[in-house]
Each structure stands twice: as C-alpha cells, then as structure tokens.
C-alpha cells in the first residue's frame, strides 16, 4: 500500500532489512553479538546511560528523569518500579523515541546495536521502531484504533516495514493471533477492538509487538488495567514469549506482586532517579534503600491477620434478594441487551463489621453498592438499614435517611467537584440536612483534622491536593453526616501502595473509633485479606461464596474463588513482608 | 428608418409572475408578459386617445349610453380558432368574477349584446364619461371562450399555457428562470411583430438585475426593475437609451395615506403641517434621481382635467411647526408604514420620517412586508402609510374612488382608506362621472381638486416615473400610453 514512502536507510540497516525479516537470516547477522555473549557476561542489548529528560516550565519538577542508567540484556526481564509520576513511562518512551514534543532529553545516551538512539533521525527511528524495538501500552482500550479491524492493525506491522505481500500479511496476522492464544483467531482478526475483552485486546497488542521479533520489548504497565485472572495469563504469555525469543524486556509496573512473578532484574525509580537496582531476589530479600523498604512493607500480605470475633449480632444492613438487570434498549425493532448485574443477592453486615465484596471486573460489585446506596433502583429486593426499608422510600423521605449510609468513591480525582472548595465539599451534606452552616464548617475542620489534613484545607480546591489527600477528603465527607454504614467502592484501588497502606490504616482506625460498619468493595484480594471480617465473592451478579476472611483464604470452596486466589500475583514471594 | 425583421429580446421581469392568465391574476409583471399574448379591444396613445386594437372602430350614441364596437375580421386565437363577438361577451362575464377592477369598471354596464359575430354593443345604465378608457388589455383582456366556457377557471390547464390573440405566443416557462414567448406567425397585422422571440428573465435581486444588464445578458430593464440609485449609472453606459415614456395611462401617483379618523391626524392643520414638513423636492432629486414630478394634488398632471390652480405646499418646516403648535400637537406617537417595495421606498420612508421628526413629530416606523402592510392599511390600523396608485387616465376611474365616502370599507387597500368624508366631494365626483360634455366635467373636477388640496385628506408626494432602460438598438419599444405593458408588437432590433 505504501510503496511510495521513502525508506532511506544507511547501508548496514538496509542490508538487514532487505533480504527478509525471517529468523534464520537475522540470526546469522547477529551471530557475532551472540558469540560475545557466551564469552562475557551477556552484553546489554540496550544500555541507557545517565539519561536526563527535562520537563516543560511549570511542571512539578524540572526533570522527569534525572540521570537514569540501566541495561537491558537479551533473555532478561528488567522491571522498573516506582510510584506514579516517578518517571517510569518517560524512560520507556525515550527508549522508543516517542517522547512528547514538550519534553526533551538534555543529556545521556541510549546505546542500541552500536549506535546512540538519541542521535537518530526520524527515518532511522521509524525503521527501528516495531522491527527492532517494540512496545506494549497500559490501556488496551485506547491503544488500538477503534475504526480498524484487529487483523489489519496487526498486518500494519509488516506494512510499516515494507515486508510481505498483503495476502501473506493477513496469513501472518492469523498465525500471530493463534500464537498469543486468542480464541477463534479467524473471527478475531476480522473483529474491531470494541468487540474484544480487555485481555483479548492486550493479547492482540502483544501479538503486534512480537510480529517482527524485536530484540527489545518495552511493556508499560501492560496488565494494570486487567483483572487478576487475566493478568496472570498475560504475564505468563509475556514470560513465555520472551524466553522463547530471547528478547530483552523492560517491564514497567507499580505492582510488587507482578515484579515478584516475572522480574530478573529490578530498578526502583523515585522522583526520576534510580534509588536501587539489582537482581530481583536481592532487591526483594535485602532491600538497601529506605524507600524500597517502605514500598515493600506497604504491599499487603495474602495472609489475613487474626480478627476479634464480633459478638454483637445486631444487623446494621440487611440485603434481601436484590435483583438488578440492566436493559439497554435496542429500539423498536431490535431485541434489548440485558445484563444481570445482581441476582438474588443476600447478605447482612453486622454492627462494627467490615464485609468485603470481591470479584472480577463486571461481576456486579459496583452495582450492588449502588443498589445499597439507592443510587439506582432495584428490580426486586429489600435493603434495610436498621429498621428502615430504604427501598420503600423516595424523594424527601429518602433524602432524610441518606445520611445513615455514606460512600467513599474509587477515584480521588473524579469524586471531588473541581470547582468547589474543600470546606463546601465536606459541609454541603450537613447543610443540606439542615445543619447550621457555621457549625457544619466547624465540624468539617475537625473532620479534616481527624483524617490528617490541616484546617487550611477548607479554603483550597481539590486540584491542590495529592491523590492520597483527596481520598482523605472523600472520607471526611462521608463521615460528616455521621453515618452508621460506609460503603467503600474500590476506595484504595487508584492509590500507590504506600498511600494505599496509609488510607487503609486510617479507615480501620476510624471504623473502630466510631463503631462503623463497612461494605468494602475491591478486586484486590490482598487488600481484602487485610481489612475484611468476612468476604463475599461475586461472579456474574451472583454471590458464590461468603465466609469469614481467614476461612475463605484457607479453604476456598467455589472453583471461582479458587481461581481468583490462585491468580493473585507475587505469591511465591521472596520476601514475605510482615 | 425601416424596421428590421428578426432577433431576440431579453427583458427582465420582477417579481416572477404568479401565473400568466391575465383575466385571473393582474399584478404588474403578469400584465407585462401577458400583454404580449392577450389583447384588449383598444389601446391608448401617449395622449390617452383610444387607438384600435381588436376593435377596428367604435361609435357612441347621442345619449352617451350606447357604445358600439366593430371587431377586426380575420383575427384568430393562437390555436387557430377565430376571434368573435362571442369571445367578447364571454370575457365580460368572466372578468366580472375574476378581475376586481374590471368588475368595478363594468358596474355601469346595463347589458352587452352581439348583434353579429363582429359587432358588440355595450349599453350603460347612465352616461359614464370615462367608459372608453376601460378597454386596454390589462383592464379588459379578451379570453378565448372555446377554452374556458364551462370549465373550472381556477384549474383550467390553459392558465399555465395561455392562448390569446396577441403578437407573441407562449412557448415555455421555466419556473424561477425565464418565460419565453415566440412570434405569432399568423398575426393579423401583416409584417408584425418584428421580433422572433422574447425572453423574460426572472432575477429576484435588484443589484443582480443591474449586473445582468451591464454584462449584456439582458437588453431591456422595464420601469422599476432596478433601484433608482442605479439609474444614472446605467444610463451612462454605452449604447444605452432611457425613456420615461409609457406610463401616461397609469400615471402612478405616490402619496401618504393619512388616517383621518383618529389621533392628531384627524386635525386638518396637522395634515397640512405634514405637507409643509416633507421635502418633496429632495425626494424627487435624491431618491428618485430627478425623475417624476412633485404632485400638486389628487390628479397627476397627465390625467384629464388636471389643474395646478390649487393651494401650494412648499417645503417649509417653520410653517409646519407653527401649524402643529396651533393644532396643539404634543408629541403623540405617530406610526408610519413604508412600502415594502425595495430600497427606494425604504429610503423614502426613512427620509419622510426624518423630515417629520425634524418638525417635532414623534414618529415610529412599523416594518412589514407587503401583505402585512396591506392588512394594517385595510384594518385602518396605521397613522401614515405610503402608497402609490394608478390613475387609469380619468379622474372617474383612478381618482374619485380615493376620496368619496361611499368608497370607505374596511379590509381593502384602495379606495378611501384614509376615512375622508365630505358630502361636497361626494357630490362632485358623482356628478363628474356622468356629466356631459367634457367642459362640464372639467369644471367639476377642478373644483374638487381645489377642495381636496385644501383639506389634505392624504399627503400627495410625487408623480412617479419609472424609466425604462434599454439598449439603443431596441427601437419602437414604447409606442403607446401603456408602454411595455401592452406588448412589444411594434418593437424591432437594429442589428
């Protein structure tokens, strides 16, 4: 299709590209390198030296990446870990030559196959990308062009480098799809991205990245958006493919469980600087830097702590036979699309108890939370708070009862109105309930103090706070109405581990002090293990198992529960922290 | 110069005629096009003397009540059927139902008879001075009986492909684009018409019409088809001739309806003040580019029995102010309704408004389109309203109706809209219509003019002239007092 596009390369690159992409020839080319590998300790495929990337003026810090050096070796996976904003993605993008226009590399070099990548011109970059260096992105939803068929997007990989005929490309795409384990590959190569599940899309992305057998694979949080079960499969796939092709992999993640599962080498980044690096076992077992230690300590363990049994049998919440089916109207001449988000859901929460609700994405956890909160209407069933049947109320009466059950939301950025000051955000509820505004603000100040924010916060806007602080504000808002029950829907999932640990501790503390009950929704079984008294496991709208936490972890009954537990990454932990 | 045969004329028509059946629709453009297809019994010279057309000759009885017309022999309709007295009788009957003006004009007719195929006799109830002036094609077109008799006139297919006796035949009409007429080869006047065909181009925008002329796409701009402001420029173009002739029969006279019934305008002095306040020479010189004439009274100077021996109202703001003060005008709001006929009239409305405001009147312009304006005038819901009306050659036809009290009737935009009622005037016009001989009529009408001008029932503005602009190679385009409205039968092209 694009024969007209110039493919100007230097002789040596051209020579490699021209005969064909097939393996035998390429191997012959890289033979001398391989030979050396045997003699010395494997030379790096890529060597990043003292990389420094400047951010535009007004950014939070002058350099996104500040003097980072690291090597990627064939056949090895290097995990780059660190909190959000530590510069992980920047490193990856620099390696691919895909840095945004607003940032630029001020110093350092990236050695690859005998040249400094940072000095390449656009055409050479283009030649290397995809063919020698490939990348997988975090969001499988947005990383694929929604208007193109999967197979065509795979075939583009060959087209970009002028390889094969269109027919061969299609055949190749099919076999790639098969190789990464996409089900029904004939159908899937003809499908559009939105017709695939997240895991399938990520597989398609991997297939694409591997199409030309690159020497280096960069994976920027490739599993963060996936379910644990899917994550486990994808990790396995990457590991296998990487082994069989002897690729050098740079794997970016913030999840230490994942690191534990696949890393050969670990590099810990903080504020754009490498604070620690070394073989995975060493970093896990003998972390040297305090930051690494803190990070490791913050990873919740799979072992539920012992919990005091609850004697008080008073029920705070009673949920009986909740049904909810979403009907997406198909119009007059089409059948409706129905999703059962809750089917005959029953559970109680005792006073002072934390009930966990776990399950994969789409299993109906949030729907249950909303039903309990009466943010949506149930088709059938009852939600009782104390003696009040919430499902029977509406309008003013409902509003009057709302203060008894409050919610903490998942996304600390989306759950605060960006245009209202924190003071208002916290005090609005009580004022709407009829409280005197001065008293409400005084109380807001106290609450903020209780969640660890100073009084000055009242007058500030949400964007002036960090993620963890915002989640604290969300908690203060929920507490302002002095609720009996708190529903936390993925309340810590968006936070970095260290922050997550703090917030969890805060929640535990407040709960105990105020005698609250809690419905805690999460997809992270480690978190659930640490905070819940009992856990309910949901699958496709049905609660398949509900047990005290320790029992559930020790003796899962339902196959789905077992599958979930097995998929949690990092269980062969080299450093069982705590 | 000897007329040359052949050639095509492109003329502009505006707005697009709603139909071409002159007996059923009678607005200006319809007559302009259909005047070539249909004919009347008579035409009128620029001096408004009757000239034969379908009637070869005519005679009037002693008592002035019987008019006998001898029809031309050998006249055929465009479909080949002969034209006879039966067609005339039929036309009279039909027009009484479809043609409002013909209906009025024929009100004096007692009976119409056809003693033979080529003679028609009109018998009147009483003598009617202007009777010989109602036979022009627009006022009384001849309709083919054999195509209309016994049909539903409204939906008759010939409405859209009219058949007449005229020098040109209807050929095609592309709605929104043009109307095409071709020479009638069997025309009764041998050798005529000279032209092969006429295209009437439909161009709705005045500026675009000027451009069409300028770029040579059309040859004739009939009166009123370009804005007056453009006339001087166009007349200076190469090979361009301009004439104001051809409007003698209609003699359009512009005035302001003044609502005599209510408010300040019920006071004669206020009405006189308005006459003094308006700078009519400015209007003539600037808005009408010097064309036309400042009106002295209810009759245009081209109309029979006109006299300028009447009170005069020169532009005199001081006097206007004095009169207003005398009448005790205290700034009551007065609504003025301009005529929605394009830029010229809009500008004129603005100028008059400004004149009146300059003498201290509180004027508000009410904007409407033609239909909305008509409704307001018909409902007498106005204070001052622009208009211009045709006079049809005789005070009994075009003048009296605007002042006699019997013509006061709600819901119409003609006749006595201003609500002026003066028994003396009523009597004068009643007498004038039937009086004989001419000298007696003259006396009556001169008296009426004097009284009216003193009373100012309406404010007369200008005798309008709509110049026709054409290429000089177009000869003999206008030969009668009806101008382009009764056909191009004498026109020829000097190639």
């Amino acid at each position: 299709m694009d024969h007209g596009v110039s493919r100007r390369r230097d002789p040596d690159l051209g020579a490699r590209a021209q005969p064909d992409w097939r393996r035998p020839q390429r191997r012959a080319q890289s033979a001398p390198v391989a030979g050396r590998t045997l003699m010395m300790t494997a030379p790096p495929a890529v060597s990043i030296k003292n990389l420094r990337i400047a951010l535009p003026k007004g950014a939070e810090r002058p350099f996104a990446v500040d003097g980072v050096s690291l090597d990627l070796r064939p056949g090895k996976i290097v995990c780059v870990v660190g909190e959000s904003g530590s510069g992980k993605s920047m490193c990856a993008h620099a390696l691919m030559g895909l840095l945004p226009d607003t940032v630029n590399v001020t110093s350092g070099e990236i050695q690859f196959e005998g040249r400094d990548l940072l000095k390449l011109d656009d055409d050479r970059w283009r030649d290397l990308r995809g063919r020698r260096l490939a990348m997988i992105f975090q969001e499988p939803m947005t990383a694929l062009n929604p208007l193109m068929r999967i197979g065509d997007q795979m075939a583009e990989m060959f087209e970009a480098h002028g390889l094969l005929t269109p027919r061969e490309r299609r055949a190749k795409a099919l076999s790639l799809a098969r190789e990464v384990g996409l089900p029904d590959p004939e159908r899937i190569v003809r499908a559009y991205p939105h017709q695939l599940s997240g895991g399938q899309r990520q597989r398609a992305m991997i297939a694409m990245a591997l199409a030309l057998e690159p020497a280096v694979l960069v994976a920027d949080e490739p599993t963060t958006a996936l379910d644990v079960t899917t994550q486990a499969q994808i990790l396995k796939l990457i590991r296998n493919l990487q082994r069989s092709r002897n690729m050098a992999v740079m794997f970016i993640t913030h999840d230490f469980g994942v690191v534990a599962d696949i890393a050969d080498q670990v590099v810990v980044l903080r504020h754009g600087k490498v604070v620690e690096e070394g073989p995975a076992a060493t970093v896990f077992n003998e972390p040297k830097h305090d930051y690494t230690k803190a990070l490791l300590a913050a990873v919740p363990s799979m072992h539920p702590p012992a919990r005091a049994p609850l004697d008080d049998l008073a029920r705070a919440v009673e949920v009986i036979g909740l049904d909810k089916t979403y009907v997406t109207s198909g119009g007059w001449f089409r059948e409706d699309r129905r999703v059962d988000a809750a089917r005959a859901v029953n559970f109680n929460i005792l006073k002072g108890e934390t009930l966990g609700l776990v399950g994969e994405s789409g299993s109906g956890k949030s729907s249950v939370a909303r039903l309990v909160m009466r943010l949506i209407e149930a088709d059938r069933g009852t939600v009782r708070i104390g003696d009040t049947d919430l499902t029977q109320l509406s309008g003013k009466a409902l509003r009057a009862e709302r203060h008894r059950i409050q919610m903490i939301f998942q996304d600390p950025f989306a759950s605060l109105n960006p245009r209202r000051k924190i003071g208002h955000i916290v005090a609005d509820g009580p004022i709407a309930a009829g409280a005197d505004s001065k008293a409400a603000f005084d109380r807001a100040r106290d609450l903020l103090k209780m969640v660890g924010l100073d009084a000055g916060a009242l007058e500030r806007y949400p964007h002036e706070f960090s993620g963890g602080q915002r989640q604290r504000i969300g908690i203060a808002r929920a507490l302002a109405l002095e609720p009996e029950i708190i529903v936390a829907d993925e309340a810590v999932s968006a936070l970095d581990v260290s922050v997550q640990a703090q917030v969890l501790r805060l929640l535990e503390d407040l709960k105990a002090r105020l005698g609250l009950s809690m419905l805690f929704i999460t997809h992270d079984l480690r978190v659930a293990a640490q905070i819940c008294d009992r856990i309910a496991v949901m699958q496709r709208g049905v609660i398949v198992e509900l047990k005290p936490t320790a029992q559930l972890f020790a003796a899962p009954e339902h196959p789905y529960t077992r599958e979930l537990l097995a998929a949690v990454p990092g269980q062969k932990e080299r450093a069982p922290a705590a | 110069q000897e007329p040359k045969m052949g050639g095509t004329i492109n003329a502009v028509i505006q707005p697009e005629p709603p139909g071409l059946m002159l007996a059923m629709v009678q607005n200006g453009p319809v007559q302009m096009v259909s005047g070539n297809i249909f004919e009347g019994l008579l035409r009128y010279s620029p001096k408004l003397e009757p000239v034969p057309e379908l009637a070869e000759s005519w005679s009037v009885s002693e008592d002035a009540k019987t008019y006998t017309f001898k029809l031309r022999k050998g006249v055929t309709w465009h479909d080949g059927k002969p034209f006879t007295a039966a067609d005339v009788l039929f036309s009279v009957e039909m027009l009484k139902q479809t043609h409002a003006r013909a209906r009025n004009n024929l009100a004096q007719v007692d009976k119409v008879e056809a003693p033979d195929d080529y003679t028609v006799v009109f018998t009147l109830k009483q003598p009617f001075g202007p009777f010989l002036g109602i036979f022009e094609v627009g006022s009384m077109p001849m309709v083919p009986k054999h195509l209309y008799d016994g049909t539903d006139w409204k939906t008759n297919p010939y409405n859209n492909a009219p058949v007449g006796t005229g020098p040109f035949m209807f050929k095609e009409w592309q709605k929104g684009s043009f109307i095409r007429l071709v020479k009638n080869p069997n025309y009764y006047e041998k050798g005529k018409p000279y032209l092969d065909e006429i295209y009437w181009q439909i161009i709705p925008d005045a500026a675009a019409r000027s451009v069409a002329y300028e770029t040579g796409k059309v040859d004739v701009l009939p009166g009123g088809s370009v804005e007056n402001f453009d006339v001087p420029r166009l007349s200076k173009l190469k090979d361009t001739c301009v004439t104001g002739a051809g409007w003698e029969f209609f003699s359009p006279l512009a005035w302001l309806w003044l609502n005599n019934r209510q408010g300040p305008l019920a006071d004669k002095r206020v009405r006189q003040a308005i006459m003094y306040a308006i700078d009519r020479d400015f209007a003539k010189d600037v808005i009408w580019n010097g064309l036309g004439k400042v009106a002295t009274g209810p009759s245009a100077s081209t109309i029979k029995y006109y006299t300028d021996d009447v009170p005069k109202y020169p532009y005199d703001p001081a006097k206007a102010k004095a009169l207003l003060k005398e009448a005790g005008y205290k700034g009551e709001k007065i609504r003025i309704l301009p005529l929605a006929y394009g830029e010229t009239w809009q500008r004129w409305g603005e100028a008059v408004k400004q004149n009146l405001m300059d003498v201290g009147m509180n004027i508000e312009t009410i904007a409407t389109d033609v239909a909305g304006g008509n409704q307001k005038i018909g409902d007498w819901d106005y204070d001052i309203a622009f208009t211009y009306l045709y006079q049809y050659g005789d005070p009994a036809l075009g003048v009296g109706r605007n002042y006699v009290s019997s013509a006061i009737a709600k819901g119409q935009v003609f006749n006595n809209v201003e609500g002026y009622s003066n028994p003396e005037i009523d009597k004068l016009f009643a007498d004038g219509a039937v009086a004989t001989p001419d000298s007696k009529r003259k006396e009556i009408y001169e008296k009426a003019q004097k009284i009216l001008v003193e009373d100012v029932p309406v404010a007369w503005m200008l005798e309008l002239q709509f110049p026709t602009i054409m290429r000089c190679k177009v000869k003999n385009l206008i030969t009668t007092g009806i101008g382009v409205n009764d056909g191009f039968k004498d026109a020829w092209l000097d190639k």
Partner: protein, 323 residues
C-alpha cells in the same frame, strides 16, 4: 440496518406531522390575507370580491377544518393547491427541487472536501505559516455575511472579469445539449455553490484541524508510531479517519442550515430553487405553498440526517444500528 432505517423513517414521519401542525398555525398567525393580496394586485378590490376569493380557496372554513383537510391531503402525498400560482403545490416544488438539490449538494460536497483538505493541512503543519494562513482565511470566510460574499463574487467574477455568469442556472436561449450543457450549468453553479459553501468550508476546516490535533494525542496513534509506520500513513489512516467522525456529525446537523441559507444565495444568483420559492410564498401568504416548502425542506433535512447517520455507522464500527 434495514430496521434502523425503518425506525428512523417512522420517527421522521412523526416529527414531520408535528412540523406540519405547528407551521400550519404559525403561518396563519402572520398578518396579511392572501385574498386581499391577490385582489390588491388587480389595482382594485371590494369586500364581495375578496370574500369570493376566500371561499374559492377554502380560507373561509374554520382553522381546525382547514388543518384536517391539509393533513388528510399530506397523507396521500398531496400538498394542496397553490391558490396564488394556480397549480398544485407538489408540482411547483418538484419544478424547483432539482435546482436546490444540485446547489446544496454541490455546496455540501465542496465545503466538506475542501474543508477537510485544508483542515488536514493545517493540522499537519500546526504552528507553521501554512497553518496560520489557513486558520486566518477560515476565520475570515466564517465571519463574512453570505450575501456579502455573493456580491463580491459577482463583482469580481462576472463584472470585473467576465468568467462566470451572475444569474440563472443555464444560459437561457442557448439551447445547449450534452457536454456543452453540462459545462454551462457547471459554470452557473460555481459561484452560488461556493458562496453557500464557504461558511461551512471554514467551519469544517477549523473543526478538522482541532479534531486532528485532538486525535493525534490518543494512545493508538502512539501505537501506530511504535509500529514504525510512516507519518503520512499515520495521519491518513489513524488520525484523519478518527478525526472525521465529529466532522461527519456536524455536517449532518448542517443540512438544515444549508437549505435555509439557500434562500439568500438563490435570491442573489437568481437560482431557481425552493429557497426563493419559499420566500416568495411567504411574501404572498401562499399558505399551502409555504407549508409545502417547509415540509419538503424538513424531509430533506431528515434524509440528510439519515444519510449522515448511516455514513457514521459505516465509518464507526462501534455504533450499532440501533437508535
């Protein structure tokens, strides 16, 4: 897909019915009586005569009855009779419809094609002189009143240099046939179509540019770059196609504006379309004709919208054929 169209048609019919009823009353609210207008043109009028006219056109009946008669007619695709032009309304409209369709569709095609082209250029060379130039021109075209553009066009192309005809849709009396006729019509078409399309072209230029810049930031563009695809291919295949979606939506919405805008263009260029027919009908209070034009225009808008929706659904696989 078929059921989608069927559903849309049913919906459209309901909307149309509402339009008919509303406009029926709206139009009759206008001051001015068609019978008076007609009688007036004869240069005289009297009560009896006007009443006679009213009866003839059924205007003497009570409004609900008139509406009933009208709607009944519509059901049988009869738009009524124009008492003023003495012809069936549908005939009058059909005579004019081809010209309007030719004009609006050409304007639409030109504006969309050129707009997308310029927008693409501007986005590709964002920040350069070319971008600035295109943006400024787009802004100027956007800001010029349509009649002004028309006037300037005529002065420039018809008067100053005699390249293009200033009125009509063919050379009257030339009796051209075949290719010569086509060329003749095309020559007449250029100016009105450009005039009508210029504003929309400017809109699409700006929209395409903005949309391209927006899409450029999306993840899948990064994926495409990571594949090593040449920039031109990325721009065309990945950026442009996605960026066009909002432009297509907007274009569909514009159909109504385009047809409405044709009133002025058709007036200035003497283009024999229904825009002018509507305006004349309005001035003459030709109720049936005016209503008929409204219904026709609305049908055209609905069809335009349906087509854009279909196109949208063809381009974007994510949207299924549901309402």
């Amino acid at each position: 897909m078929l059921s989608f169209v069927a559903q849309r048609v049913v919906k459209g019919v309901i909307v149309l019915l509402a339009i008919v009823v509303l406009n029926f009353f709206l139009i009759r609210l206008a001051p001015g009586d068609p019978a008076v207008v007609m009688a007036g043109e004869a240069g005289a009028s009297d009560q009896v005569f006007v009443q006679q006219l009213r009866e003839k056109f059924g205007l003497d009946k009570p409004l609900p009855e008139q509406l009933f008669i009208y709607v009944k007619g519509i059901a049988t695709l009869d738009l009524g009779f124009s008492f003023r032009q003495q012809a069936p309304v549908s005939k009058l409209i059909l005579e004019r419809l081809p010209a309007t369709l030719l004009l609006t569709l050409t304007a639409f095609a030109i504006s969309l094609a050129l707009g997308v082209l310029f927008g693409t250029f501007a986005a590709r060379f964002a920040g350069t002189f070319l971008d600035t130039a295109i943006t400024i021109f787009a802004l100027i075209f956007y800001a010029m009143p349509i009649f002004w553009v028309a006037l300037m066009g005529i002065l420039l192309f018809s008067v100053a240099v005699d390249w293009l005809p200033s009125f009509g849709y063919e050379t009257v009396g030339a009796n051209l046939t075949g290719l010569a006729h086509l060329i003749d019509v095309a020559k007449h078409l250029i100016m009105p179509a450009m005039t009508l399309g210029l504003f929309f072209m400017a809109t699409y230029t700006r929209m395409t540019r903005a949309s391209m810049l927006e899409v450029k930031r999306l993840d899948f563009v990064k994926t495409a770059r990571a594949k090593g695809l040449p920039d031109a291919v990325i721009q065309r295949r990945h950026v442009l196609r996605n960026a066009l979606l909002p432009v297509v939506t907007l274009a569909g919405v514009h159909a109504g504006t385009l047809i409405g805008g044709a009133v002025i263009t058709e007036t200035v260029f003497a283009w024999p379309g229904i825009g002018r027919l509507m305006y004349d009908a309005l001035l003459q209070r030709d109720y049936n004709l005016l209503l008929g034009v409204f219904v026709t225009c609305s049908v055209m808008v609905l069809i335009f919208n349906l087509i854009t929706d279909l196109v949208y659904r063809l381009v974007d696989p994510r949207i299924e054929f549901a309402a």
